[in-house]
């Protein structure tokens, strides 16, 4: 899955035709073979764009930032990213007319160790659902696979579940990377940010993490599209998705 050449061609064409002001894509991070998101204003920077199975992050997250707001944006989306983009469109956060979307028929991305990510194994809609141009051959919908961990946790007793989540809340450092990386958290002022630390008991205890993460999960209840950008961003590698998945109905 290497669409670097096609994406560079499309981006160069769009800049030449004057259809977009900025392009959001991936580039190599410069010191190993992992990638970082990049926002390009200048057509000269186009050759830096890449897309391989290492392109893990969700780029629709960058549509809520100032450097793309009210501009015409070119964007690369995988299946999961396009679902969150679709939700942003539904909730009137971005204008469809301002976007030129390059959809990818995604074959799954890999993590830093080179293993296929868990959400890609469980992914049921790998193709982009909203796009102007599709790269790769669409693979269609797959059957829903219930996450074995979630199913196992749901049938476990109260005490096991409590221990499991106590460990999660204990290891949380309240950096709020999950909230910042979430494409659906577009509020300019968030209630779990540290500004309101007095309400949320400030210090990073399990108690305050419980309060903040629970509230955050409830704000995403029924909206989460399972892109798992929060898990990718979490420095403590916490499986945050368990909270949200249960509230998806």
């Amino acid at each position: 899955m290497d669409y670097s050449k096609q994406i560079q061609d499309i981006a160069a064409k769009l800049f030449a035709e004057g259809k977009i002001d900025v392009f959001v894509g991936y580039r190599m991070n410069g010191f190993d073979d992992n990638q970082v998101p990049v926002v390009i204003n200048d057509p000269k920077e186009v050759p830096a764009l890449v897309f391989t199975e290492k392109s893990v992050f969700n780029l629709s997250n960058y549509l809520k930032a100032d450097h793309t707001r009210n501009k015409r944006v070119g964007l690369v989306v995988k299946g999961c990213d396009s679902r969150s983009l679709n939700l942003l469109l539904t909730e009137s956060q971005v204008k469809r007319d301002n976007l030129y979307i390059i959809g990818i028929a995604c074959e799954g991305v890999v993590d830093e160790k080179g293993q296929k990510m868990q959400n890609c194994i469980e992914c049921i809609v790998p193709d982009a659902v909203v796009y102007d141009e599709m790269l790769g051959s669409p693979r269609g919908k797959k059957d829903y696979i219930v996450n074995a961990d979630i199913a196992g946790l749901a049938v476990k007793g109260l005490v096991e579940r409590r221990e499991y989540f106590e460990e999660i809340f204990d290891n949380c450092i309240r950096c709020n990377a999950c909230r910042h990386s979430c494409p659906l958290c577009y509020c300019a002022k968030c209630c779990i940010d540290q500004e309101t630390a007095t309400i949320y008991n400030g210090s990073n205890t399990a108690s305050s993490a419980f309060h903040a993460l629970m509230t955050w999960s409830l704000h995403l209840a029924g909206r989460c599209v399972d892109c798992r950008n929060c898990e990718k961003a979490c420095p403590s590698h916490l499986p945050r998705i368990f909270c949200i998945n249960r509230t998806r109905r």
Binding site: R161, M214, L218
Partner: protein, 160 residues
């Protein structure tokens, strides 16, 4: 001066005071138009119910942010009771439908992270149901007494 200081210290010494017997604290969040009036009727008709409930009045059950429930459980409460108008009777036409959907999700999530389902309870009590309100409070208190004090994620257990 020193004598006074000694006296104060002796008063504040924790071992001189026997640990109090545990009494459950239940936070009741009631809608202004139905359940709060219902609890008022319970009082005026001299119906007895457990005194463990602390009542907070809100304009509508949809005013109850799940944040309130989490905050209550995190601080002092051993149980939370939320009560509103019967479905269809909302003063603001559809507020309690929003509330009902929100509570289902909240309860599911709290169950998932290890709270017993009886810790957080919801009920519909109208302004005419004074006896029912007494029954509901009695039931919630009995459930919480059976479960015992709540220690999970309490603020004071993590004081730094």
């Amino acid at each position: 001066m020193e004598e006074v200081k000694d006296k104060i210290v002796s008063i504040e010494k924790p071992e001189l005071i026997a640990p109090p017997e545990w009494k459950p604290v239940i936070v009741g969040i009631l809608c202004n138009w139905c359940s709060y009036a219902g609890s008022d009727l319970t009082g005026t008709s001299r119906t007895q119910y457990p005194p463990n409930i602390r009542i907070i009045r809100v304009p509508c059950s949809s005013r109850v942010d799940p944040w309130f429930i989490i905050k209550a459980l995190q601080t002092t409460a051993d149980g939370v009771l939320i009560s509103g108008c019967h479905p269809g009777d909302c003063h603001y036409i559809s507020g309690n439908y929003y509330a009902r959907r929100r509570f289902l999700v909240t309860k599911e999530l709290l169950k998932m992270v290890g709270f017993h389902e009886h810790r957080v309870q919801f009920s519909w009590v109208s302004a005419a149901e004074g006896a029912k309100f007494a029954q509901v409070v009695k039931k919630v208190t009995e459930d919480v007494v059976k479960l015992g004090p709540l220690h999970l994620y309490k603020k004071e257990n993590f004081s730094k």
